[in-house]
Symmetry: C2
Subunit: 212 residues, 2 copies
């Protein structure tokens, strides 16, 4: 795979790529066949130079005087991000948040499928949901390993989150989406992204109330 020969790509670039994919997809769906870095930059809210620099880490995708072919650039980035396949995901915690995640229909159209759900509460274990059933957290490591799952979502209380993360990592998980408001301690090969609305709000109050 080509990716192995491009080892030094900054993480911050990788984080922007999904935004490019999303925007290009929207443009392509609106029958916009070509787009310049300038137009794309306007749409996304970054500079044109940044888009060109980001893409240059992976190759040459544009044509001078013309811009980029919307659909083929979208597909190129999709491939770079390995979004051209479906990833099975393990969900830990089937409380109110876990419930919402399991029913969220945004995963379907994207490249992710909830393939296993775990909860510690015996009342919830066994409950069927679509094609799968809720399993005991006891099985987490072995079931994740059996299914070859590499992505985990943590939706348990903060006090349990580290323990759950450890079990997932033991099973082979390398990417964790963490909804619990706690910093997980993980080995360097495991990547964690936080989803924390309170944190997000707390980063904005600083700026409030000064100007009118």
């Amino acid at each position: 795979m080509a990716r192995e020969f491009e080892p030094d790509i900054p993480d911050i670039v990788i984080r922007r790529l999904p935004l490019y994919v999303r925007t290009l997809r929207a443009l392509a769906d609106s029958d916009v066949a070509n787009v310049s870095s300038d137009d794309l930059a306007d749409e996304i809210g970054v500079t044109a130079a940044q888009i060109r620099r980001d893409l240059s880490y992976f190759g040459k995708f544009g044509k001078q005087g013309k811009g980029y072919d919307t659909r083929s650039l979208e597909q190129a980035i999709t491939q770079i991000l390995q979004l051209d396949r479906e990833w099975p995901v393990a969900l830990a915690g089937f409380g109110s948040l876990g419930h919402a995640i399991a029913h969220y229909r945004g995963f379907g159209p994207s490249s992710f499928r909830i393939a296993a759900i775990f909860d510690r509460n015996p009342d919830k274990v066994g409950e069927p949901l679509g094609e799968i059933a809720i399993l005991s957290d006891q099985c987490m490591t072995s079931e994740i390993r059996r299914l070859g799952i590499e992505i985990g979502i943590i939706a348990v209380p903060a006090a349990e989150a580290q323990e759950v993360a450890n079990a997932m990592i033991d099973g082979g998980v390398q990417s964790i989406l963490n909804y619990a408001p706690i910093v997980l301690k993980t080995p360097p090969n495991v990547r964690v992204r936080e989803i924390d609305p309170i944190w997000a709000l707390q980063t904005m109050t600083y700026y409030l109330g000064v100007g009118s």
Copy 2:
């Protein structure tokens, strides 16, 4: 207010502060009275130098040889971030996500209170929820202005999000927490933070599947 004399603080520093507050609060609750930048750094997963540098933007909070007083540092940062008060928040969209947000009990203990909820669907308008009722999106701008709300949460479909953001901003909102998968166009004095689990997952697949 002292803040007006510290104009050049990088946003990335502000984004870390809530993490410090959260961690200091947990330590104080465990009756840890003092903490060094080294210990705190371990807990949070950043370097000690970074913590000291971040804090130095705002003043001197530590004692040499001793470290920081856990509780008073927590309170100092809480004050810097203006989290020592309660902020009323407007929620737009009372679908499945909006429902989950409105019932999420994490806002209570923090500095935020859902003070108004808006939905376009006439069936939902009027429905009572705790102390408040769902209002029509027609009233959004005026009601937000009337209540002096400066923070908005967007939980409507992507196609409606920009329009809703505009209405909020017209009412005086300066901070938006956006759950819709779209880049909002806002004036420079308005700050937006994205909550998008799919995006977060898409930034991690790049790294998967190479090493075992």
